[in-house]
């Protein structure tokens, strides 16, 4: 399949439809622009005053313009009805059910970090309360540790870990202002709005390790063309992560509200979660 040029690496299941739609609509746009542009240039050349000194009152008689317009309308309608509306319906309605064993995680945005809240082994999110929020004490989401469900919950800052090839539901909200949770490589973007929680479903398909390997292969491939510094490039790729970008202006450090997403195998993910769980129970002791 031809890829839409200029897009970032693709690492999610649903992203393919977005990429395909982008390609399709840009091809349509290009065709329209080229056709229109060709007519435009021809007209300007043919009907310049030096060549065509006497204008015709009646003007164009052909129905071509009407057909062209109709064509555009049909193409737009096809994109709309054929792809966009059904796709959105899948996105919104097809939040994976329990049978698909989705990974559930809360993401609570704040100026200027992404707080990630895992339910822990019991699979239940502990109660949260805005009055218990304490950034410096490591409780940015206001988790109530007195709630039994909260005992094993894990809170991480700016670090989202997810297993590969399992459906994910991010329960997205914000503590203060409107942010936008964007994962460019996974083609995920959704506004984080205070006072609302929205479910963002997606499925990562490429682990961070694979992603880096792909980038390295690409760098090595293009190495012959760009002399020098392959080792540096490869070293830089070793630090390259999937990024969580903030796509909605949220204040003075909006530009650096950057988190990382690590996509791991199921085992690695469980191991990480366990480590974090042990750590959390010690650190979060509020006064």
């Amino acid at each position: 399949m031809i890829h839409m040029p200029g897009l970032p690496f693709l690492a999610s299941k649903d992203g393919a439809t977005i990429d395909f739609s982008l390609l399709l609509i840009h091809l349509l746009m290009l065709a329209m622009l080229l056709a229109w542009g060709a007519v435009f240039v021809i007209i300007l050349a043919r009907f310049r005053r030096s060549r065509h000194p006497k204008a015709e009152y009646a003007g164009i008689k052909t129905r071509l313009a009407g057909w062209a317009e109709a064509g555009v309308v049909v193409a737009e309608a096809a994109m709309l009805v054929g792809i966009s509306i059904p796709f959105w319906a899948t996105r919104v309605n097809a939040v994976p059910g329990a049978d698909q064993q989705p990974v559930e995680v809360r993401v609570v945005a704040q100026q200027y970090v992404w707080n990630v809240h895992y339910p822990g082994p019991d699979g239940k999110f502990g109660r949260t309360n805005a009055l218990l929020v304490d950034d410096k004490a490591g409780n940015p989401v206001g988790l109530d540790r007195n709630d039994p469900a909260a005992k094993d919950d894990v809170i991480a800052v700016n670090q989202l870990h997810l297993p590969v090839n399992r459906p994910v539901i991010v329960h997205l909200t914000s503590k203060d202002v409107i942010h936008s949770f964007a994962l460019p490589e996974l083609r995920v973007k959704r506004d984080a709005i205070p006072g609302m929680t929205v479910d963002v479903p997606f499925t990562p398909t490429v682990t961070t390790a694979q992603f880096r390997n792909e980038l390295k292969a690409e760098a090595t491939r293009s190495y012959s063309e760009k002399p020098g510094g392959l080792a540096d490039q490869l070293a830089a790729i070793d630090k390259r992560d999937y990024e969580i970008a903030c796509a909605q202006m949220c204040g003075l450090a909006h530009y650096r509200m950057r988190g990382t997403l690590v996509v791991q195998t199921q085992d690695e993910f469980q191991k990480w979660l366990k480590e974090q769980s042990l750590r959390s129970s010690v650190v979060e002791e509020t006064w």
Binding site: W88, A89, V92, Q111, M196
Partner: protein, 593 residues
């Protein structure tokens, strides 16, 4: 005051370039106020441009001192310490660039300057229907602009929550936001006054014989624009009042419960008691704002289409093709533009049905634009095209608006909007329409109607230099932004994406864009020189130098200070009867028997 020979006693009265400043201050004449609008809005345009250049420096060279900035701002300034811009100043510039350009420059140029000046002339009217309302509109607009600019001097600086002023960010922001709201309310007053005046003038003051279907397309575009302003601005006014209350008297219309800002719960002191704020909705503002701001996009483009249509017909020397379809298309566009606002909000968690509705309306609203664009292109077919400066700008409008409009499609479809939302692609789409498109039309309009306003022609050679350099540079600035947007680079990043790994491959484009923007500034010098030089030294012209057909050309150049016309003209035919078969000259003005 310039000295003038006794043989021209009426010069002061006839030549607006010579009018006294004092007279202009109290004038209720639509021409004087139109010129005031034009001069003021061009000044704001320049201000917005300078703001953009400051921002572009920061984007190209994040963290590097701007040469000369220490001298200008002081090395210890809160905004640019040591010449390096701080993020909050960048965000002030960002918010104010947007608002200044939209509300103080482009719309006032299109509606305030061209609309106020030309519409009564094109109707054969002596003035607007409510001359004092015209004046109120201008002074209220100016006051709003002054409030906005003065907010830069506040301790916390100007508004910095983006031109959209989304709460809760805008509610917890500094005093600049309050000034922004007050300025906005003044501008809303100005716009509504202007819109009422425009509609009444068009409906009531058409001269004998000037039926609706004989109105120049420019007048139609102004009429639809005025209705958009009239209907879309008041809801923003309501939103502005509510946000002002949120900021000043601690209501919580836009603040949901449970907000924790900077580690502390957001509270208000009400009657000596500290109570938590909340109970409102952050999205309420977005609905009210975009209910204005999407029609506002059409306000930014319809009058430009109107001007382009006039210039194209005149220089192709033939009637507009499909005039009626253009008129109906424009009206349809106006109605539909009220029903598309939530396509700016696809990512706020909207459901399937609402999303489908707004996607569908968005696709439908593109149809009239396509009709108008097709009609304008078809109008050229069979013409005898003159390539003078106004025509070049008007022609450039077509492909530029075309690109801007086309790139709206992937943003209007929810599926592709997911990736492109809030990236440089959006910025680019908007700027292709408003800068590459509308601003081209405005420049075309200035070159085209300058002889009518001043009685003198502008220099053609300088005009061509201005056109070609601007066209090339505008595309150098905006084409690379599509690449950045496609790569997923968010907008409103103070460091232009430096913090993000996924932005690295397209980061160097920032330098190129910035250089092109600085070059674009240089490319405006021929225009400014041309404008000032022609005002005094341009060759004098007759009443109808372009051999045009609409009624403004029936008046002297410049038109009579009082009442515009010696005797009110009568309209005998449609607005662009060029190259009528059987006539010996290739234009048949509306006012000729």
């Amino acid at each position: 005051m310039t000295s003038h020979s006794p043989s021209l006693p009426s010069k002061a009265e006839r030549n607006p370039a010579a009018f006294s400043f004092r007279a202009a201050l109290v004038s209720t004449d639509h021409k004087v106020i139109g010129i005031l609008y034009g001069v003021t809005a061009l000044t704001f345009l320049l201000t917005g441009f300078l703001i953009m250049m400051l921002m572009r420096w920061q984007l190209a060279y994040p963290g590097r001192a701007l040469p000369g900035a220490s001298a200008l701002f002081g090395s210890n300034s809160a905004r640019m310490p040591g010449g390096v811009m701080v993020p909050e100043f960048y965000y002030q510039l960002g918010a104010m660039h947007g608002t200044i350009m939209v509300f103080l420059a482009i719309v006032p140029l299109l509606v305030g300057a061209f609309g106020t000046y030309l519409v009564p002339l094109q109707l054969g009217a002596p003035n607007t229907a409510f001359p004092r309302l015209t004046r109120l509109g201008y002074w209220s607009y100016l006051a709003g602009g002054v409030v906005w600019l003065s907010s830069f001097a506040l301790p916390g600086g100007a508004a910095q929550s983006g031109w959209t002023s989304y709460p809760p960010l805008s509610i917890i922001a500094g005093h600049g936001q309050t000034f922004w709201l007050i300025g906005m309310i003044l501008i809303i007053v100005s716009s509504i006054a202007g819109a009422i005046n425009m509609i009444v003038t068009i409906i009531q003051l058409r001269v004998i014989g000037l039926t609706y279907m004989r109105l120049p397309f420019f007048v139609w575009s102004q009429l639809v624009t005025a209705f958009l302003l009239l209907l879309a601005f008041p809801p923003l006014g309501a939103a502005g009042i509510l946000q002002l209350m949120d900021r000043v008297v601690d209501t919580s219309f836009f603040l949901p419960s449970g907000l924790v800002v900077s580690g502390a719960a957001l509270t208000a002191n009400v009657g000596g008691q500290t109570i938590p704020r909340g109970g409102g909705s952050a999205l309420l503002w977005q609905h009210l704002f975009w209910f204005l701001a999407h029609p506002e996009v059409y306000v930014l483009v319809l009058p430009a289409m109107g001007m382009v249509a006039e210039i194209l017909a005149n220089n192709a020397r033939k009637p507009l093709w499909g005039y009626k379809s253009m008129v109906y298309g424009t009206i349809f566009l106006g109605v539909m533009s009220m029903l598309v606002w939530a396509h700016h909000m696809f990512l706020t968690g909207m459901g399937t049905v609402i999303t489908a509705f707004f996607q569908a309306t968005t696709m439908i609203v593109s149809i009239p634009s396509i009709i108008v664009l097709t009609a304008l292109l078809a109008s050229l077919w069979g013409g005898a095209i003159r390539f003078n400066t106004p025509m070049l700008f008007a022609l450039a409008f077509l492909p530029m608006f075309g690109i801007g409009g086309l790139t709206g499609l992937p943003l209007g479809l929810a599926v592709t909007d997911i990736h492109l939302h809030d990236t440089y692609y959006v910025i680019d789409h908007f700027h292709y329409i408003v800068v590459c498109g509308t601003l081209s039309a405005i420049f075309g309009g200035i070159y085209y109607w300058f002889p009518k306003v001043t009685g003198r022609a502008m220099n053609e050679r300088l005009g061509r230099i201005h056109f070609w350099s601007s066209l090339v540079l505008l595309n150098c600035i905006f084409m690379p932004m599509f690449i950045q947007g496609m790569a997923g680079v968010s907008r409103r990043l103070y460091d232009g994406g430096l913090s993000y790994a996924h932005a690295q491959p397209v980061l160097k484009l920032n330098v190129f864009i910035t250089h092109a923007a600085f070059a674009l500034a240089l490319a405006q010098i021929p225009f400014i020189v041309n404008l000032l030089w022609s005002l005094r030294r341009g060759p004098r012209v007759e009443a109808n130098p372009w051999q045009a057909t609409t009624l403004e050309w029936a008046a002297a150049s410049p038109p009579l200070a009082q009442g515009n016309f010696e005797t009110p003209p009568v309209a005998h035919r449609g607005p662009c009867e060029y190259s009528v078969p059987g006539k010996d000259k290739d234009y048949t003005p509306q006012w000729e028997q």
